[in-house]
């Protein structure tokens, strides 16, 4: 019975869709934070169940992805004093169509991939993970703002976490903590970088960086 896992994965895919069409930076930041929290809760309902190790890890991920990351990012947006819109390269209509296409691809691929997925994981985890990775990639290439690129990177990380959950039943605690630290440092560095970019150039449109003279 994978009732709760299935529902969490469905919510995860809905957040992916919502990310492709929401136009406000603040909404995007809270959506990504929510996605991270949902994923952190996933191991609690899987085969391992409740034990001190999973509880500790879930609590840590909730704090880092649910509180610290959105805090850092929204602070960067506020301090950088930019327009609070996403400014995508594509229109929102196209973005939704791309979101639908990515969803289709992730299901098509996720079901056919010959992965050593354990019997105990729900069949939705692999499509959901691939969907999140693809959506993150799409957000990375299709948005103008530096903040949305951080968000795309975080969505990709969420997808990989879900993927790991499906394929490797038990990741050692040390490695999980290491990954979390890496992501944390990554977001921290990028938040600082966003602040520097906006202080230097009065905006944070990354496509304008390519015209800089060295």
């Amino acid at each position: 019975m994978h009732g709760i896992t299935d529902n969490i994965m469905a919510i995860l895919m809905l957040i992916n869709l919502a990310l492709t069409l929401s136009s406000r930076l603040a909404t995007c930041i809270s959506l990504v934070a929510f996605q991270g929290v949902m994923l952190a809760l996933l191991p609690l309902f899987s085969h391992e169940g409740l034990n001190p190790r999973t509880l500790f890890l879930a609590g840590l991920v909730v704090v880092v992805k649910g509180l610290i990351f959105p805090g850092l990012l929204s602070r960067a947006v506020r301090d950088a004093n930019v327009r609070r819109e996403v400014e995508p390269f594509f229109g929102y209509g196209t973005s939704i169509l791309v979101g639908i296409a990515l969803l289709t691809i992730s299901f098509w691929v996720g079901i056919r991939l010959p992965l050593p997925v354990s019997e105990t994981t729900s069949a939705l985890v692999v499509p959901g993970a691939i969907g999140a990775i693809l959506t993150g990639l799409f957000l990375l290439v299709s948005r103008r703002k530096a903040v949305t690129q951080v968000l795309g990177y975080l969505v990709m990380e969420n997808g990989m976490t879900a993927f790991g959950l499906a394929v490797v039943p038990e990741i050692p605690l040390l490695i999980e903590l290491g990954i979390l630290l890496d992501v944390f440092v990554g977001v921290l560095v990028m938040a600082i970088m966003i602040w520097h970019i906006s202080r230097e150039f009065d905006h944070m449109d990354v496509d304008q960086l390519s015209t800089l003279k060295g």
Partner: protein, 303 residues
């Protein structure tokens, strides 16, 4: 054909105008007004039917056919749609296609009648109506395919009856998504608020209303009644989706369905009170999102 299906059909014909009264009453309560009488739609219909019709010299028989053919189409469509878990009057394999295109016929004759007047406003409304309904169709069909896949039936009544409490357990998230997608289609097709404001009286902003500006008297009564029955028919899809099971007692089943329709009317009233209308360019986004929901639901049940 059974007696309770016939009762459900007659019930729909009699009670449907009440839904608009309930929607208006809920909106009035939110605004702190007393609002129109609950039976206002009946009074309007009675008043219009007593009047005579005026036809412009530039219109042809197309203009006069529109209202009658539209009402006829929706009356036939109503016979195929179950109310709650009470089966429909008629059903055969694949009847959902017929229902979808009966609504298509209704739209077509309304649009033709609007274009026949030669008014540029009506042409604009017709263009919007056709654009939005073309985008609403995939969402509606994807949801229907999901329901058909879950229940394994190829006809509307058994398919929607198959979505019982047993299905809501394992495929609950998919059914919620179908419900949301259909709610989007329901609001679009009936020109309710996030898409069109039924209270607006500025031709530039209207969609459905603007197409029927030139109809008067009994013709307008037919159009009004047709729109009300369309509201009921599309609402019956949603209500049938969420009704848990059939009790077997005629009165109780009909009561279930009726209560569902009244609650749906209240939900529409609440949505209209707390939401602003979308800009016209945002409406396709809403419908694409509804399609995405329905597609996700289909993937969730098909995996």
């Amino acid at each position: 054909m059974t007696w309770d299906s016939l009762c459900a059909y007659v019930l729909a014909l009699v009670v449907a105008p009440l839904l608009t009264g309930i929607i208006n009453r809920v909106k009035a309560m939110f605004a702190g007004r007393h609002g129109q009488p609950l039976l206002q739609a009946y009074f309007d219909l009675a008043k219009l039917l007593r009047k005579g019709a005026v036809y412009s010299g530039t219109t042809t028989w197309v203009f006069r056919t529109g209202p009658v053919a539209g009402l006829a189409a929706v009356l036939v469509a109503l016979a195929f749609v179950p109310l709650g878990k009470v089966p429909a009057l008629v059903s055969f394999n694949g009847d959902f296609l017929l229902v979808a295109y009966l609504f298509g016929v209704m739209r077509f004759v309304t649009v033709m009648a609007a274009l026949d007047t030669g008014s540029s406003f009506e042409g604009m409304g017709a263009s919007r109506e056709v654009q939005f309904s073309a985008l609403a169709e995939p969402a509606w069909f994807m949801g229907l395919v999901t329901v058909i896949y879950v229940s394994g039936e190829w006809s509307l009544s058994p398919a929607l009856a198959g979505v019982s409490s047993g299905v809501w357990g394992p495929a609950g998230s998919a059914m919620v998504l179908v419900g949301l997608a259909w709610l989007g289609v329901f609001l679009t097709e009936n020109s309710r608020i996030p898409v069109d404001d039924p209270n607006t009286h500025l031709e530039l902003t209207m969609i459905h209303e603007v197409m029927v500006l030139d109809h008067g008297g009994p013709d307008f009564a037919f159009i009004l009644y047709g729109a009300i029955l369309k509201l009921w028919t599309l609402g019956a899809f949603l209500v049938s989706l969420v009704t848990p099971y059939r009790t077997g007692m005629v009165l109780l089943d009909l009561g279930y369905g009726l209560a569902g329709m009244l609650i749906l009317a209240m939900v529409v009233g609440i949505i209209e009170s707390i939401m602003a209308r979308l800009r016209l360019v945002r409406v396709p986004h809403l419908l694409l999102t509804a399609t995405a929901f329905a597609l996700l639901a289909l993937f969730l049940v098909m995996r």
